[in-house]
């Protein structure tokens, strides 16, 4: 078939040597290549282990993958158990430490990996029989050692901790919990608490329950005869004891009666993560499978999807907007997502819903459809170069009960998708009136106007419904000046403040898992030096000493501007409100919000150099609890820096915040002062 195309292309130069191909346009592609997807040889061991062999002699290499036929693990209050168990499998066996196991695998020039529901081993064929022994040892006789579990736990928790700052991770967690429901295996959320609940005994039980031959597939791909594969499977996995696996039946998640809005309030957010999601009745191999993949790619597949063209190229709301559609035997899921500027949250939801309606209500044009089909066909063809693809196909056919020639016919079926079918699947699968709209963002700034999409509900970052953040209303009789006086009094009496001559704070700052030394020294009046250092080397130094200002960061001097001077002056005062009143700063009470769960009054402070910052005072104690400052950074939009003050300590009658959390969006700095000394008789000359 291909031949004819080539001949058509080349016969011109063939007949007239002076003539050449038409260089003004790209050559037409040849006919779609015939895909040869090898069918595996299959057999089942006495213990129920199903074995597939896909012989491929291209390289003298064999890969064996063991995969459990489990879609999701129901873990309940031990969520994370499956993943941790998978990691623990490879950390030593009954007779080998982790180091010995690593050496044994590498001696064979091989690789071995394990996960919650699968394991894989690969090496050249001559070493493969020995590698198989190691693979079986890992699966049948793992050490499941308590010390190693602690290492895995530590890594897992540090992963969870860092994802708490990640709005995308919060969005994913809440979305899956709302869409699937907490009772569905797909809707469970792994937390520090659930991870801490995992004991060695649980891991042992997990392995015993799930890692059983009669619910697993062993797939060989590579230069191996089915007879050899069978012998290896028998020898290494023949003794693997059968288990009992009760396939759980999950309740189908309820579809919301109407579209609603779920907000996870994150006051620190300067961008909203918006996701429009729902379950879909879509399983692999169903008639809608391939057409729906085409439809999803037209809607939101990468840079060429409509969501990208609309939300990024046309409106500039976001850096990227995509949709995804995942089929599943249990229940599939659709979502369209984008991270958008706060003020464009409403408009972005509108545009996403518009695109859902357009793809439901109008037929896709020929050019757009054929371009997308070419793109998918090309990607499919290229994926076949990897033997792992073939193994995945064989597994997918088995666990999804697909026709044996499903992948063989994939391109033909892809080619047959027409505009009519694309519209049909869009209408069948996407229902804009029954969607979960999940937003992780700053509720105060974005919630207004969202009721038009449906009821607005609030959730915490673990997907539990919570009350709407109450609006904090400041006492109307309170003037800004009176509030400043209260704030000063909260820090300390006039006498206590006057008595303070010097202050020295020492502690640590943790940044992205690293611990730095933090030190601030204040000598009244108006002198202060703050340093952040690592191993004795200063990383940052900010100083105002005797009216001289200096800021050094990463070894470079920052230019000293008027607002920098103002900031340094403030840092040298324990109650900068005194400066505001004395120097006539612009002060305005603009409202309130919850800070760490308590009501706080929001004061807008405008400095003489016209810089604007917000200071939040606790509505009861009047102590400073938060500051917030936004700045336009060319090319990057608005950058917001927030700082939280907690752990107030009374030192000689003056309240000093011993903990400060700086939130710079991408980066957080957690400062803890554990050593606070006052009135040591320090002089300006001590501020070096």
């Amino acid at each position: 078939m291909k031949k004819q195309i080539y001949i058509a292309l080349i016969c011109l130069p063939f007949f007239s040597m002076a003539q050449t191909v038409d260089r003004t346009k790209s050559p037409a592609p040849g006919k779609a290549p015939l895909i040869q997807v090898a069918s595996p040889v299959k057999f089942t061991l006495a213990n129920g282990l199903q074995v597939f062999v896909v012989k491929n002699t291209k390289l003298p290499k064999v890969t064996a993958t063991l995969a459990l036929d489990v879609e999701g693990f129901k873990e309940g209050d031990k969520a994370g158990l499956a993943e941790m168990s998978g990691q623990l499998l490879k950390r030593g066996t009954a007779t080998k430490s982790k180091a010995e196991l690593d050496e044994a695998v590498e001696f064979l020039g091989g690789s071995l990996s394990t996960a919650s529901g699968s394991a894989s081993a690969s090496s050249l064929k001559n070493n493969f029989p020995k590698l198989m022994e190691l693979m079986a040892e890992v699966i049948l006789h793992p050490a499941l050692n308590a010390d190693e579990l602690e290492k895995v736990r530590k890594q897992t928790i540090s992963g969870i901790e860092s994802s708490k700052d990640d709005a995308d991770a919060i969005s994913n967690n809440v979305m899956k919990k709302l869409v699937y429901g907490a009772n569905h295996a797909f809707g469970e959320i792994t937390t520090t608490k659930t991870v801490n609940g995992v004991k060695v005994e649980d891991v042992k039980n997990f392995i015993k329950t799930y890692w059983i031959p009669n619910n697993a597939y062993l797939i060989f791909v590579g230069d191996i005869d089915p007879a050899n594969a069978k012998a290896l499977a028998e020898k290494n996995f023949g003794t693997w004891a059968k288990g009992v696996y009760a396939r759980p039946i999950y309740e189908k998640p309820a579809i919301p009666a109407t579209t609603y809005v779920a907000i996870v309030d994150r006051p620190a957010s300067v961008q909203s993560v918006v996701a429009v999601a729902s379950t879909v009745n879509l399983s692999k191999g169903s008639p809608n499978d391939i057409p729906s993949n085409v439809m999803n790619n037209i809607l939101g597949g990468g840079f060429s999807g409509r969501l990208f063209a609309n939300l990024r190229e046309k409106h500039g709301f976001t850096y990227g907007a995509y949709s995804s559609l995942s089929p599943s035997k249990q229940i599939g899921m659709f979502s369209a997502e984008a991270s958008v500027r706060n003020e464009k949250t409403d408009s972005s939801i509108q545009e996403i819903l518009n695109e859902l309606n357009i793809i439901r209500n109008t037929k896709v044009g020929d050019t757009e459809l054929s371009r997308m089909k070419n793109y998918l066909a090309g990607g499919f063809a290229r994926s076949l170069e990897s033997p792992n693809t073939i193994a995945n196909f064989a597994l997918s056919i088995a666990v999804n009960h697909l026709p044996e020639d499903y992948y063989q016919k994939y391109l033909t079926n892809l080619a047959a998708v027409d505009a009519q079918k694309v519209q049909e699947v869009a209408t069948a699968l996407l229902n804009p009136t029954k969607m979960h709209i999940v937003i992780v963002g700053n509720a105060k700034q974005i919630a207004k106007g969202l009721e038009k999409y449906g009821p607005v509900k609030y959730f915490d970052m673990e997907g539990n419904e919570v009350a709407a953040p109450t609006e904090v209303i400041a006492d109307a009789s309170l003037t800004p000046a009176a509030l400043m006086e209260k704030a000063i009094a909260a820090v300390g009496s006039k006498e206590a403040l006057d008595n303070l001559k010097d202050v020295q704070l020492k502690g640590t700052a943790s940044v992205m898992g690293q611990s730095l030394e933090m030190k601030q020294t204040i000598v009244v009046p108006g002198n202060s030096v703050t340093t952040m250092s690592m191993g004795g080397m200063a990383i940052m130094r900010q100083a105002v000493v005797d009216g001289k200002y200096a800021v050094t960061q990463q070894g470079q001097q920052a230019p000293i501007t008027d607002d920098l001077k103002e900031g340094l002056d403030e840092s040298a005062s324990l109650a900068p409100e005194q400066i505001y009143l004395a120097k006539g700063y612009g002060l305005k009470i603009v409202g309130g919000e919850k800070v760490n769960g308590n009501d706080a009054i929001d004061v807008e402070v405008t400095t003489p150099s016209k810089k604007v910052a917000h200071r939040f005072y606790d509505a009861k104690t009047f102590l400073l609890v938060k500051t917030s400052k936004s700045e336009e950074v060319p090319g990057r939009g608005t950058m917001t820096q927030q700082q939280y003050y907690t752990g107030y300590k009374n030192v000689n009658g003056v309240q000093i915040a011993s903990e400060q959390l700086m939130d710079l969006g991408q980066m957080k700095i957690n400062i803890k002062y554990n050593d606070i000394k006052v009135n040591q008789g320090l002089k300006i000359s001590d501020l070096k």
Binding site: F14, T24, S26, N56, E106, Y375, A381, M537, Q554
Partner: protein, 442 residues
């Protein structure tokens, strides 16, 4: 980190050819009248094809006052041609479900398209347009100059330790053009006139300086006719090509320096002067490199990362070229570890190779790892096409892809001891300490 080691090693072999005894790559090689060398490898195991063009021009061919030209062209030649509008070059490929890219070394520039096999014609059209009709215009030069500056900012200036290659090269070489990195000088790019870019194109981007290497699901008989149609009409280049024949004298004593960078964790880099690629010593060196950092059980990972916990990451990186190369050993310090202590431990691991023969089991382990890596490097058509082209250009022997394993098999434990003793010496190395910037201003 163990992963990193393997990947780097694998990609290294990837660049330099890859055989396995049982797997012969039956390729065909011929030359068009205009001097274009063609290598074709037919393999129908998957419906894919890699269309690649390797130009024998890298940063070492550059004028000392115009460094960065070769790499700049890697960008400029995606701008468009007489028949391909600006900005559309890559769209043709992505719309066909393919992928494309290019890279530049000190010795050569390499372009490739990975396509479903029924789109092989598209690859020929794009590569022949690039060679025949590239638009070298002021607008494209200006655009790409900004892109390259941004690339330099992103990959070298802003990336921790990103300047390491530039810093090593300028200390390790005094006279050879390897003394500058392919990224070159932004001042040179700013100063260059359009006419100079056109001249560079006419000099180096000619069929007689190129190997067109195609591997995959092709029909050779018919593909040859298509190649003739697309590439036959391109005129042979006539301008003289600058091929430097400078021999770098010995280093003549240890060179040490501190580099202050925007980093949190200090790092130690030792760059030993090493032989050029392809000789017996080169193969022994690669075995030695795997002993040091191939996988979780390698000496540097086991000692520096696992047992002593002095480093968060460690790596041996062979940097072999057409002319004399480098062997780089580097470690990033763990929190609170002093560079002096780290350097001492690195030296002790490296010196271990000079003191006694590698144990037999360890030696066998490393041979096994290398054999696997060589086989894996033939897993993709792109890898095969690139190996064939590299071997042809560097050694005039595309068939090295089928014989390289023998060269590794010949390496003995004594050979490893010998190269270690000959090259891994203090007076033959550059030592850089990467330190956080503040120290200077304290």
């Amino acid at each position: 980190m163990q992963k990193l080691g393997t990947i780097l090693l694998a990609s290294f072999f990837f660049l330099n050819g890859a055989p396995a005894k049982s797997q012969t790559i039956q390729f065909e090689k011929y030359t068009l009248p205009n001097g274009l060398k063609i290598i074709l490898y037919e393999d129908h195991s998957a419906p894919v094809v890699a269309v690649t063009a390797l130009y024998h021009v890298g940063s070492k061919n550059e004028d000392t006052a115009r460094t960065g030209f070769a790499h700049f062209f890697e960008h400029l030649l995606f701008e468009g041609t007489d028949n391909i509008k600006r900005g559309e070059f890559d769209k043709y490929v992505t719309n066909a479900g393919g992928a494309l890219n290019a890279n530049t070394s000190q010795d050569r520039t390499f372009y490739y398209e990975l396509l479903p096999s029924n789109q092989v014609g598209l690859g020929l059209w794009l590569e022949s347009e690039r060679m025949m009709h590239a638009k070298i215009e002021q607008v494209g030069v200006n655009t790409q100059r900004e892109v390259v500056k941004e690339e330099k900012r992103q990959r070298m200036d802003n990336r921790p330790y990103g300047s390491f290659l530039t810093e090593i090269l300028k200390r390790a070489y005094k006279v050879h053009p390897y003394k500058w990195a392919p990224i070159g000088s932004m001042d040179h790019l700013n100063a260059a006139k359009l006419e100079e870019f056109i001249q560079f194109y006419k000099t180096y981007y000619v069929p007689n300086n190129c190997v067109l290497s195609i591997a995959g699901d092709i029909n050779k008989v018919e593909l040859k006719k298509q190649i003739e149609a697309y590439f036959g009409p391109i005129a042979k280049g006539t301008l003289p090509i600058n091929r430097p024949s400078i021999k770098e004298p010995p280093l003549g004593g240890e060179v040490r320096d501190n580099i202050y960078d925007n980093i949190q964790l200090p790092a130690v880099l030792d760059a030993y002067r090493a032989p050029k690629q392809g000789g017996d010593e080169y193969y022994a060196f690669n075995v030695l490199s795997t002993i040091l950092s191939g996988g979780a059980s390698s000496r540097m990972n086991k000692t520096l990362v696992d047992s002593k916990q002095l480093a968060v990451a460690t790596q041996a990186a062979p940097f072999f070229n057409e002319d004399d190369g480098l062997f780089i050993v580097l470690s990033v310090a763990n929190m609170g570890v002093k560079v002096e202590a780290l350097e001492e431990s690195m030296d002790s691991v490296v010196n271990g190779l000079k003191l006694r023969l590698v144990g037999e089991r360890e030696f066998q382990k490393v041979k096994n790892q290398i054999t696997t890596d060589l086989v894996n490097s033939k897993a993709t058509m792109a890898g095969i096409a690139e190996s064939l082209a590299n071997n042809e250009v560097y050694f005039g022997d595309a068939n090295l892809i089928n014989t390289e394993l023998e060269k590794y098999n010949k390496v003995t434990r004594e050979d490893v001891l010998k190269v270690a003793k000959k090259y891994l010496n203090k007076d033959n190395r550059v030592v850089l300490h990467y330190l956080p910037k503040e120290k200077t201003t304290k």
